[in-house]
């Protein structure tokens, strides 16, 4: 089975405090720790596990600048066979449709049976995989937390729905799936693993290579645009307890007692 996994380099929210810059035009990107989007990492692991069972190859593709190459190498160190960097100034400021347009052109350059994306990324829209599937007119399922290969043309998949329940479907190949976290346990990648793939060539493809009309992507193709960033205010905010650990703990016990938190 030929599998393409679309991955993205994102600021790691577990390693960073995300702050808005002084103009509100972006988040503060200096000194941010970046990593592969968590959902995408599960998607790559799933792809590797599938080809370990049925054979084939895994290609990882990322839209981004040169720095996205490190993310591709990381995923190749996990076991992906090939990497493709999709990079062009014309790709910048694409909305979901623009990104899906770039990926569609990439898919059509290859011969993929299965295309995986993460269920969502840093922007939280959970849109790219579904848009790509519609553009390719292939079947799609989101929030996938189980994949079983039935035969050459069919997968059995599970979708995570509400309340911990799971919807089971049969889906025909070629198809697009967006992968939910928790579907597997992504393998650990050490420095040594990354060194092994350090010299593997990763081709870079731009709009011209992919035959994309640049009017359909980037800022000019975007029907949805982010205009500024701000810090949300959801509630009145917590009353913050300060002091050394002893003082904090004494105060917490008092509060817990008064609220019936200690049985």
């Amino acid at each position: 089975m030929e599998i393409l996994v679309c991955v993205k380099r994102v600021p790691d929210t577990s390693e960073n405090e995300i702050e808005v810059n002084s103009e509100g035009s972006d988040i503060e990107r200096d000194d941010l720790v970046y990593s592969v989007n968590e959902w995408d990492n599960y998607a790559v692991e799933e792809a590797i596990q599938i080809i370990d069972k049925v054979g084939g190859s895994v290609t990882v593709a990322a839209i981004g600048d040169d720095e996205s190459e490190e993310v591709l190498r990381r995923e190749m160190a996990m076991g992906a066979d090939k990497g493709i960097l999709l990079s062009d100034e014309a790709f910048e400021k694409s909305d979901g449709r623009g990104l899906a347009t770039i990926l569609k052109a990439t898919v059509e350059k290859g011969n993929y049976d299965l295309i995986l994306t993460g269920a969502q990324s840093d922007t939280g829209a959970a849109q790219t995989g579904a848009m790509l599937a519609a553009m390719l007119d292939r079947p799609y399922a989101s929030l996938v937390n189980l994949v079983e290969v039935i035969d050459d043309s069919t997968l059995k998949i599970g979708r995570e729905i509400d309340g911990g329940n799971q919807e089971m479907h049969e889906i025909k190949l070629p198809c697009v799936l967006s992968i939910q976290t928790g579907i597997n346990e992504p393998r650990y990648v050490g420095i040594r693993g990354i060194r092994k793939v350090a010299s593997v060539e990763i081709p870079t493809l731009g709009a011209a290579d992919l035959g994309i009309d640049t009017a359909t992507i980037g800022d000019s193709g975007a029907k949805t645009k982010c205009i500024d960033y701000f810090v949300p205010v959801m509630g009145e905010g917590a009353e913050m307890i300060e002091g050394d650990t002893e003082e904090i703990v004494v105060k917490l016990v008092e509060i817990l007692k008064s609220k019936g938190g200690i049985k």
């Binding site: 929210t13 577990s14 405090e17 995300i18 702050e19 909305d95 899906a100 840093d122 922007t123 939280g124 829209a125 959970a126 849109q127 579904a130 848009m131 519609a134 079947p139 799609y140 399922a141 989101s142 995570e160 729905i161 309340g163 911990g164 329940n165 799971q166 919807e167 089971m168 479907h169 889906i171 198809c175 976290t181 928790g182 346990e185 029907k223 949805t224 645009k225 982010c226 205009i227 500024d228 701000f230 810090v231 949300p232 959801m234 509630g235 917590a238 009353e239 307890i241 300060e242 650990t245 002893e246 904090i248 703990v249 004494v250 917490l252 016990v253 509060i255 007692k257 019936g260 938190g261």
Partner: protein
């Protein structure tokens, strides 16, 4: 403007989001004609129920829609809706499956998980959404001139002031043809029942990513034991297989309604908060002072749970003697 709203329904009842979408449509354009779309099998009662809040209701009743398959609906709706339609859906698992592809098939704009609607400037809507697990919000423009598919975060539009419109039901069932699809629904597998049903717990000690390592989970169990209460967790803990799924709080896990909720190393993504009902007293401890949890918590501590929790457990044990 004419706005459509796709109504989620189960077992003959409309989802809470049915009314929220009616409000969202009015907030987008107070003059809008708002049409509810109810699809399913045996849905007369749902149509009646939602008609009070909509100008009209389009009923699509078909045995093949007993399970609302997004692959089927995703092909029916672009044919049924007028060109350049504006369609609202609740941002949950059905919309995530269906809505982005609909926007492509309708050749319209798409914007997901909207948390507020600031208004309309000509054909351009100004909408608020969140990025980075709710740590920052953004203002966005969405050009509706070619139509749009917009998903609305459940729960953000309070349903007290439901518009009373009293619309009629229009049967559109004859206007559709069920398309062939390449995906077939098999069954829904119910969540496993765990050893403790946290949905009934009065007090929950709940842990998130801030616990860092599996071995540290023990300090949470010890605190819960000292307090004599149940423990639960957020999604990353279950993804890492450090606790069973039945202890996960959130929209994809359990809905809980405790009196007191301790959020320990939990940042407070909306999928987590969506599983906490009944306005409990929330105590949050987190290293990140900007964590969204501090906005909804009653009491907050900026600090490391790995330091504070063992001390707290000791103090609780002292108190109990």
């Amino acid at each position: 403007m004419q706005i459509f709203a796709y109504i989620i329904n189960k077992n003959g009842k409309a989802d809470d989001t049915a009314l929220e979408l009616a409000l969202a449509a009015k907030k987008l354009d107070s003059e809008a004609q708002v049409t509810a779309i109810v699809a399913g099998s045996g849905i007369d009662s749902v149509c009646q129920e939602v008609s009070a809040a909509y100008n009209d209701v389009w009923k699509i009743d078909h045995a093949a829609l007993a399970y609302p398959d997004s692959e089927i609906m995703g092909k029916i709706l672009p044919k049924l809706l007028p060109e350049k339609a504006v369609l609202l859906l609740a941002h949950e698992y059905l919309a995530m499956d269906m809505a982005p592809g609909l926007a492509i098939r309708m050749n319209s704009a798409y914007i997901a998980d909207v948390t507020d609607i600031e208004g309309l400037d000509g054909s351009v809507a100004k909408l608020v959404r969140q990025e980075f697990s709710g740590m920052v919000s953004t203002h966005n423009t969405c050009d509706l001139s070619d139509g749009a598919v917009i998903t609305i975060r459940p729960g953000v539009f309070a349903t007290e002031e439901t518009p009373a419109v009293g619309g009629s039901v229009v049967d559109k069932s004859g206007d559709i043809v069920i398309p062939e699809t390449q995906r077939k629904y098999l069954e829904t597998v119910e969540a496993e029942v765990g050893d403790v049903d946290i949905s009934n717990s009065e007090v929950l000690v709940s842990v998130g990513r801030g616990i860092e390592e599996e071995d540290n989970i023990e300090i949470i169990k010890e605190l819960a034991e000292a307090m004599g209460v149940d423990y639960s967790c957020s999604r990353p803990i279950v993804d890492a297989k450090w606790m069973e799924k039945s202890r996960q709080v959130g929209t994809s896990g359990k809905t809980v309604k405790p009196k007191v909720y301790m959020a320990l190393g939990i940042s407070g993504a909306f999928q987590h908060l969506g599983g906490i009902k009944g306005s409990p007293f929330i105590i949050a401890i987190n290293k990140n002072p900007k964590a969204p949890i501090f906005q909804v918590a009653d009491i907050g501590v900026e600090g490391d749970i790995l330091e504070i929790i063992p001390e707290l457990t000791e103090k609780v044990n002292e108190l109990k003697g």
